[in-house]
């Protein structure tokens, strides 16, 4: 079977490609060039930089399958970076990896893969996809290595996308993967994991968003939940819910960002105990089964990547909205982040946090 592997140059996608090639598949490696590699060499990220693309090429050469680099600069800018900046400007905290998966890897890249007669697109994500014979549909499952699970970034996959998706490392632990990389003689076996947002390698998100936005005055008031003005901020795009540092407040108790109000350009802060919330609403919800459940569900719900999913009641609202009520308050529910619903190891669906309340 011909399989296109989306190769970032990291160890996970390299091993994914290696295992598929070893299993006898006709593998084609594709890497995405996401930013202009000539203009600003120092802007290379931790993922998909020029060095990473060359690493992917070396892995393909060592394993003996063809590898191509696709220029996705325009698509990445439109689908990921512009959205990222707009979300910050609107007082939300975006998570660009989900867009990159949904709009680039599993749509634009998958469409290209069809042009090369590939039956599937594989990635190095820690996730599993299985076909449920009884219900005639695909299930998206957490990876075997719970610590590495990346289903949080994959909730938006449709049944059609899942039908053509392969996650060859989803049943492995990270140390298994490194072991395979060494066994296959891959140069990337000891390459460190990437953590940052790939297009902001210096980690200065506020500075990046600042440079992308028009140079208007975006400052505003910092108030407490009673409305008392405590200070001023330089723009809500520089802040995120739950943030404590960088507010410049001289208050007795540490103050955290509770809410960002874009229209008034106002930031509401409060002590840590006010950060907890039990309610959120989600928009653009995708149900893995293809349709929402017909009744409220007792599930576990994750509100950011490094969040232990917590018990909650999920109530569908039409086909693409949902309300979530946690049993216990959760810290810093942040609009703009993804919210993903689980039933045990099954991903039931997910969406984008629209509103949060106590």
């Amino acid at each position: 079977m011909r399989v296109v592997v989306a190769m970032s140059g990291g160890v996970d996608s390299s091993v994914a490609a290696g295992l598929l090639a070893e299993a006898g598949h006709d593998v084609i490696g594709l890497s995405m060039q996401l930013y202009d590699q000539r203009a600003k060499p120092e802007a290379f990220g931790s993922c998909c930089s020029l060095d990473d693309l060359h690493d992917a090429r070396r892995v393909a050469a060592a394993l003996g399958f063809p590898h191509y680099i696709l220029n996705f600069q325009e698509q990445f800018r439109a689908a990921v970076v512009d959205h990222f900046v707009a979300e910050y400007a609107a007082g939300r905290t975006p998570i660009p990896c989900v867009q990159c998966n949904a709009d680039l890897k599993f749509s634009t890249l998958a469409e290209r893969a069809q042009g090369f007669d590939a039956a599937a697109v594989a990635t190095g994500h820690y996730a599993r996809v299985v076909f449920d014979e009884d219900r005639r549909r695909y299930r998206l499952l957490r990876s075997v290595d719970a610590d590495k699970d990346q289903t949080y970034f994959l909730f938006s996959l449709t049944q059609d996308q899942l039908a053509h998706a392969m996650f060859p490392v989803g049943h492995l632990t990270k140390s298994d993967v490194r072991h395979h990389a060494a066994r296959l003689g891959l140069a990337v076996a000891d390459k460190p994991d990437s953590h940052e947002i790939c297009f902001i390698p210096d980690g200065d998100t506020a500075g990046f968003v600042d440079r992308q936005l028009p140079a208007d005055d975006r400052s505003g008031e910092i108030v407490d939940s009673g409305g008392a003005v405590l200070g001023r901020h330089r723009g809500i795009h520089r802040l995120t819910v739950g943030q404590r540092k960088g507010l410049g407040l001289a208050t007795g108790t540490p103050m955290y960002v509770l809410k960002l109000e874009p229209v008034e350009s106002r930031v509401i802060v409060g002590p840590r105990e006010e950060l907890g919330g039990r309610h959120l609403t989600a928009t653009r919800v995708n149900w893995i089964a293809g349709a929402p459940p017909d009744a409220p569900q007792h599930l576990t719900v994750r509100i950011r990547h490094r969040h232990q999913d917590a018990p909650a009641v999920v109530t569908p609202d039409g086909t693409d909205r949902a309300a979530v009520t946690f049993i216990d308050p959760q810290m810093a529910i942040t609009p703009g982040q993804a919210v993903v619903f689980y039933d045990g190891t099954d991903v039931i669906g997910g969406g984008w946090i629209d509103t949060a309340s106590a």
Partner: protein
């Protein structure tokens, strides 16, 4: 390499043998472009030759107030990025666009040349669309003010007859691997009397124009390739006939295709074709998977495809920069291979267009 391993600068007999090999190669390369061997300096390739020509001429003339460089938008990046780098050192760069036919208008170049012009750099044959520039006319119109005239002939030397004397220029860059020689070796022709400031200072090799021990095996290979290329020039018509056959077949069997650049002023082995509604990148990969190697514009450092700056400088719409492919033929390309490509293309293009439309509809 086994027997003539001496350093050509050494006095002993091994060194003398290597020196002899260099001299022979110099004569062979000079012969390909109708030049005197003493005017040929070996380099590491076309990029170094372009750098030497442009920086060397600018360094020689800038002090006397000549700071203008006139070039064109369809040059190779070796020229474009070098003149751009010189703007940081006070150069005033004028970039003349080409017409839709891929040809530069000599009058458009000449009108920018004045007494403050250090250098005029116009390529002989374009590397993407293959068009041969009216260089003799450009030289004639531009030389009145005493500027140095350079041509990047990397895509022309060995493919079409080149005579530096009849072109009326001062400097010419060439590269061995563009006429089946080894990679990593090239040459610059410097007309006697033209002063260039050396860019690789060191020993007195290459008449003190380029320091550093010569790449003897590469240079010998370049000499042999130059001789073979010169002999093969008589077969150019046969290559052009195959190229035209491929072109006619594609234009006839694939709707929405067009040839970029003037068809009657081209090197014989290239055609650049736009495919309406196709990502050239995808078609390139689909062809490669069938064993057919083609290219787009020019490959960038990551091996991906940059929208062509040449097609843009020709004033073609942005879409052309994304949907055009370059097919290059070699001396060994056969009619069967041409038939194979011509046969595969309609099928691949139809499939890619169908997928593109489906994706568009889903969005």
């Amino acid at each position: 390499m086994r027997e003539d391993f001496g350093n050509p600068s050494s006095v002993h007999s091994y060194g003398q043998r290597a020196k002899g090999a260099l001299d022979q190669a110099r004569s062979e390369v000079a012969s390909l472009i109708g030049a005197d061997p003493t005017e040929v300096v070996f380099t590491s390739g076309g990029t170094e030759s372009d750098n030497f020509a442009i920086r060397g001429a600018y360094d020689a003339l800038a002090a006397s107030g000549r700071r203008r460089i006139v070039t064109t938008g369809i040059e190779h990046e070796a020229v474009l990025n070098t003149v751009k780098a010189l703007t940081l050192r006070g150069a005033e760069v004028i970039t003349v666009p080409a017409g839709r036919d891929g040809l530069v208008d000599p009058a458009a170049v000449a009108e920018h040349v004045n007494s403050e012009t250090a250098l005029v750099s116009v390529m002989l044959a374009n590397n993407e669309v293959g068009t041969i520039q009216p260089l003799a006319e450009i030289a004639l119109l531009s030389k009145a003010h005493g500027a140095v005239l350079h041509t990047d002939a990397v895509q022309a030397a060995g493919k079409i007859p080149v005579s530096v004397r009849s072109l009326g220029i001062d400097l010419l860059s060439m590269s061995a691997h563009k006429f089946s020689g080894p990679k990593g070796v090239g040459a610059i022709w410097i007309r006697r009397g033209v002063r260039l400031v050396s860019q690789a200072t060191g020993g007195r090799q290459e008449r003190s124009r380029r320091g550093g021990t010569e790449n003897v095996p590469g240079i010998v290979g370049m000499g042999v390739a130059a001789t073979l290329a010169q002999q093969a020039l008589s077969h150019a018509d046969a290559v052009a006939a195959l190229r035209d056959r491929l072109e006619t077949s594609i234009l006839g069997s694939v709707p929405g295709t067009a040839v970029n650049g003037a068809r009657d002023h081209r090197v014989p082995n290239t055609t650049n074709i736009s495919f309406d509604g196709i990502e050239a990148e995808s078609l390139l990969i689909a062809l490669d998977l069938e064993g057919v190697a083609v290219s787009t514009g020019s490959a960038c450092s990551s091996g991906t495809l940059e929208p062509s700056h040449v097609l843009k400088a020709m004033g073609l719409p942005q879409a052309f920069a994304r949907n055009s492919l370059r097919f290059s033929l070699g001396a060994t390309t056969t009619a069967e291979e041409i038939e194979f490509v011509a046969g595969a293309l309609p099928r691949l293009v139809t499939k890619l267009r169908r997928l593109g439309r489906t994706a568009e509809a889903l969005r």
